[in-house]
């Protein structure tokens, strides 16, 4: 089916579904079926050892555990809010493990799985959602940039960073690339579209990794696009590819190829990882108001972890003790996160004024001094009693 441009306005009320357009289903790259069967793709071959597949499985399970533990901590009032990645583990682990040490990742606020792959301490994420800091980690330490909350803003940062890579001459096979994460909703943002233009015009080494989880809070994809998102890339002059976002192998292979193309001077790629947000937008959201439970059931059958487990078992690549070991490790990680969260100290009041500027600023100094004196006046009162 093709989009009839002339009839577009008149036909608006009867828009075909996004999936119905341009045979999108056939174009989905999949290397591991929901049943755990290995599939081949002519353009994206992937040779992984059993160890590597087991490592991916471990990542997926541990990342899900970080997520569920954080969600529980929010429910108990220990975090102000949490944005769950449930259902998106494969998209994040697959792409995250495709990154080389010199590549730079620019996340949204839901990329806990990518953070894990980059080696960021999960407690840094909890600090943010607990309200202890706005992030506060050093992006250069793990080549993982700070979480970005204003939707799509980080796409331009990644593109500019990629322009820096070009200027530093860090291109070629051993070069670096930037990858930016965003969601289906973000594709409506001006910043994302401007970043497509900049990346295209400057041929910047950046990979646009869109996790299409079907929902921008309550708004389905139809509110954002009349065509499959990956097809947008063509209009900007670079390739777009749709990958099964619940298939960790496909996400790994496709991202790896796109990063390598970027490093080698072939410019940007848009990857649409087709997935589903199994949880609420955040812990403040109530998805029962806008979507059907039946959809969720259908996507449960495509679970990103179960298919890897089935594949490992089917291929006799592991034993029951392996799975038990991972479960144990996940439980320990959960306990560790819980303990660390509960013992996390609140920031000092004077920290309000710190790091607002890099250089001295008289207003910061004056207000800090006044506020500190104001606070200590209460201490003096108590002391006088």
């Amino acid at each position: 089916m093709t989009v009839d441009m002339d009839g577009a306005a008149a036909a608006a009320p009867d828009l075909p579904s996004v999936d119905g357009l341009a045979g999108a289903a056939q174009e989905l790259v999949q290397l591991l079926t929901p049943e755990g069967e290995r599939a081949e793709h002519p353009r994206y071959s992937l040779e992984l050892s059993a160890d590597e597949i087991r490592a991916l499985y471990r990542d997926l399970v541990l990342v899900r555990r970080i997520d569920s533990e954080a969600g529980a901590l929010q429910r108990q009032g220990e975090l102000g809010i949490w944005a769950s990645l449930l259902g998106q583990e494969a998209a994040q682990v697959g792409s995250g493990r495709a990154l080389g040490p010199r590549d730079m990742a620019f996340p949204t606020y839901r990329e806990h799985g990518v953070a894990w792959c980059r080696g960021l301490d999960p407690m840094k994420l909890l600090e943010l959602f607990r309200g202890v800091s706005h992030g506060g980690w050093d992006p250069a330490a793990h080549n993982f940039h700070l979480y970005s909350i204003v939707i799509g803003s980080q796409a331009l940062h990644a593109t500019g960073y990629a322009m820096g890579i070009q200027r530093d001459g860090e291109t070629g096979e051993d070069g670096a690339a930037a990858i930016v994460y965003f969601g289906d909703g973000a594709t409506s943002q001006g910043d994302v579209n401007e970043s497509f233009i900049w990346a295209s015009v400057f041929n910047a080494p950046v990979v646009f990794f869109c996790q299409n989880n079907q929902w921008a809070i309550s708004e389905p994809l139809e509110k954002q696009s009349r065509i499959p998102l990956y097809q947008r890339a063509r209009g900007f002059g670079f390739p777009g590819i749709r990958v099964d976002g619940n298939d960790v192998l496909a996400c790994l292979a496709v991202t790896r190829a796109a990063l390598q193309a970027a490093r080698e001077g072939q410019g940007p790629t848009l990857i649409e990882a087709y997935t589903y947000r199994m949880g609420a937008h955040t812990t403040s959201d109530d998805p029962t108001r806008y979507r059907l439970a039946a959809d969720l059931e259908a996507w449960k059958l495509k679970d990103p972890i179960e298919r890897v487990k089935a594949y490992l078992i089917r291929g006799a690549m592991t034993s029951a003790s392996f799975f038990e070991g991972i479960e144990k490790e996940a439980a320990e990680l959960g306990t560790q996160i819980r303990r660390a969260c509960l013992s996390m100290p609140d920031p000092r009041p004077a920290q309000i004024f710190e790091h607002v500027y890099a250089e001295p600023h008289p207003l910061m100094a004056a207000e800090r001094e006044q506020f500190t004196a104001y606070l200590s006046s209460f201490a003096n009162e108590e002391g006088a009693r």
Binding site: D138, H145, V150, G160, G164, I165, E194, H355, E359
Partner: protein, 327 residues
């Protein structure tokens, strides 16, 4: 000393910044071959190449957003926003990203970016080409905001701004681009008057007039006219709007006992309001009269056939000065 137009003084300052540090980049719409619509970057792409003087696609958010990415990679971008009224598409990138990355990262990330904005009216332009949006940026913590008023300051201040670790919003009074003045091209910006400090341009004893950008010249004209009437007006060029140099200003107001703040921007919730409040708090017992504000009306900038009525001029400044003697 060399006599230069302010646009050329800025050009010379940018040239030195590009020479001094290979990481300095210029980026914006039409800054390359054309040299910018006001020719401030004239000839710089020819001398420093397209990789360092970058003609960008037409998108202000894109300019600032990619500049942030380049700064994360160690570059020091100097962005040009073509006209004041075009900065708003970039507002999220400036106010929510550029201004807050330092805090978001707890000091791990600094973004040494300068955003040059030609501002103010008086050139007979169409809508969006004559605005004074400085208060929006001064209100946003994390940004430094400065405005030059003359060629000599323009030459050093732009170099000082590029050398800062914090982001700087650099306002250039567009109707003064062609004003000429003496510039010491041999002056090292490190030895020049500090970027953060206000400067007393004309000493006086009766009233202190605070101005910045295009209104400095107008205030100087007012001071000269007042002198003929035997009234001594002191004129201070604020230069830095954030941080605000309360020390220099309050010391001056304590001497004269009267203060008038002048800007082209609307008076309501403008910088004059903040300055008047601060001066009142700090100089209350020295004041002979309330701090007066002279500025644009609290309307959108009018069509250019009306701008002479809208823009503060010598007479409106003198009228405010007169009113400070009515208490």
């Amino acid at each position: 000393m060399t006599t230069l137009a302010m646009s050329k003084a800025l050009n010379e300052g940018l040239r030195r910044a590009l020479e001094r540090d290979q990481k300095v980049l210029l980026m914006g719409e039409d800054v390359g071959k054309l040299g910018g619509v006001f020719r401030v970057t004239d000839g710089l792409q020819k001398d420093f190449g397209e990789s360092r003087v970058i003609d960008t696609p037409l998108g202000e958010s894109g300019i600032i957003g990619t500049a942030i990415g380049l700064a994360l990679r160690g570059y020091r971008p100097v962005c040009e926003i073509q006209f004041d009224g075009f900065v708003f598409p970039a507002f999220n990138q400036i106010a929510s990203q550029l201004a807050q990355m330092q805090l978001r990262s707890l000091g791990h990330v600094s973004l040494p970016i300068v955003i040059r904005i030609p501002f103010g009216g008086g050139i007979g332009a169409v809508e969006h080409h004559s605005e004074s949006p400085e208060a929006y940026f001064a209100h946003r913590a994390g940004l430094r905001v400065v405005a030059c008023s003359n060629p000599a300051d323009a030459f050093t201040m732009i170099q000082q701004a590029v050398a800062r670790t914090d982001p700087v919003i650099f306002f250039e009074p567009k109707r003064r681009y062609w004003d000429r003045g003496e510039v010491d091209l041999a002056l090292d910006p490190g030895d020049a008057y500090p970027l953060d400090r206000a400067k007393i341009i004309v000493a006086g004893t009766d009233v202190t007039v605070l101005a910045y950008g295009p209104m400095v010249k107008t205030s100087l004209e007012a001071a000269a006219a007042a002198q003929e009437d035997g009234r001594s007006i002191e004129v201070i060029d604020l230069r830095s709007l954030s941080p605000f140099d309360a020390e220099t200003v309050c010391a001056a107001v304590e001497r004269t006992g009267r203060c008038v703040v002048v800007h082209e921007a609307p008076v309501f919730a403008g910088l004059g309001a903040e300055i008047a409040a601060r001066v009142t708090e700090q100089c209350f017992y020295h004041l002979e009269a309330p701090v007066m504000r002279v500025g644009g009306f609290s309307t959108p900038y009018p069509p250019s056939r009306l701008e002479d009525h809208y823009l503060p001029d010598l007479d409106r400044i003198l009228d405010a000065v007169d009113r400070t003697f009515g208490y």
